[in-house]
Symmetry: C2
Subunit: 216 residues, 2 copies
DNA sequence: TGTACATCAGTGAACGCGCGTTCACTGATGTAC
DNA sequence: TGTACATCAGTGAACGCGCGTTCACTGATGTAC
């Protein structure tokens, strides 16, 4: 599995041709097997079949490599959430629940990305691009929250930002406590999906949703 | 700060006398400075002022050291939650909110313990004692949820376990996304305490609480 | 109370290992003319 | 189209370092009698 680019002939010879990409994939593989702290430059290079000095042509250090993984992860995450939300079609509440399931599905099927994004301790402060990517993903949740809140009568509307943060926190909490296959995760008698769906429904009822009787 | 036991004269001479304790403190210090993956046997020994072989008299390996830290952390955590809950005095809803604040306070003031308990990847499967300690802490939340749920009319009671899991997930989500001083944490325009309190209140309202008009 | 002995807890030197990082280098690729 | 040259991307050898782990050892402590 060394030359696992999606297509095209395996590159050969002196120049790898696709090393940056391959190193990111190697990092994902290492995160999946040993956690974010198990990622080393040397082993990523070995995985890619190049000399240990080669990664320095593409990343300043290990942190920059991990930041790239997280950056890519946020992009995929945002796309997955946006696809599930689908602009609130056909109906915001159902779309919102669908987005919640997409959140957990991402955490479950891409634990390495999720880990790099939220648990690797990549500093957001000195990486504007990464911060923007994270906010892009959160923006999907926030937009969805705005649509939901807009269904409430104007005098009783909570801040959409707060609603988005609550839902994000619950989704992240469930994903991180119960949502992954790691040994060490707590076992509970309901699936993460059920747990999140029920939690969000209770929460939204607390907000007064659904308030429009025309909506099922 | 090498001989920082709480009291008593600094031990001297060939036998340290308090090494196990000191190694655990060293591990906490290292977690606080570098995260769980920054804990090494060698550096813990150096911190304690003993030879690198000494820790092997007390812990089989690094994982056993971290498991001990987590174990102790769960004990402190359970005590802090139980103290805040205070058997639901004077009134379950207020006590519940107090417990929520205690949760976040623990995560904020003892980030090293919190990290060892929830993020270090210490495997719960092969450590029955640790699992029991974790369940002990969760038991406090669960008991509190039972008391709250009992205030609802019998026909509309949700499972207390589910309620406890939802609240735990939200508290953990908030603590882990916004609740600590690390660089890399998201900044939001409300404090974690406010966010959790508001979230729990909305959630409980969704359950139908407070349902007893005699309770303020 | 004293003595002999077993056990405990820490020593310090040693080892192999993998990692991060640097360096002068070189093969391959792209481009100006 | 061909040639000269600059630039790019990877080499491979080397280094210092800290870690995990083992080992025979030894100082200190506890206990049987």
């Amino acid at each position: 599995m060394k030359w696992n680019q999606d297509d095209g002939p395996p590159p050969r010879g002196y120049h790898h041709g696709n090393l940056k990409e391959t190193l990111i994939r190697a990092a994902l593989d290492l995160i999946a097997r040993k956690g974010p702290s198990g990622v080393t430059f040397a082993e990523a290079a070995r995985f890619a079949g190049v000399s240990p000095a080669a990664p320095y042509r593409h990343f300043r250090d290990r942190d920059e490599l991990l930041a790239n993984v997280a950056l890519r992860g946020f992009g995929l995450f945002e796309a997955a959430l946006a696809r599930a939300w689908d602009d609130g079609q056909p109906e915001p509440l159902a779309a919102f629940e669908r987005m919640g399931r997409a959140y957990l599905e991402f955490a479950r099927t891409e634990p390495a990305y999720y880990s790099a994004m939220f648990e690797a301790g990549v500093p957001l402060d000195d990486n504007q691009e990464l911060r923007a990517a994270g906010e892009g993903a959160f923006g999907v949740i926030r937009t969805a929250a705005e649509r939901l809140v807009a269904q409430l009568p104007p005098q009783g509307r909570p801040p959409a930002l707060m609603v988005a943060l609550h839902v994000w926190a619950m989704a992240h909490g469930i994903a991180s406590l119960f949502g992954r296959g790691d040994a060490g995760r707590r076992k509970v008698p309901m699936s993460p999906d059920e747990l999140l769906e029920a939690g969000v429904l209770v929460y939204l009822r607390g907000l007064g949703l659904p308030s429009d009787p025309a909506v099922t």
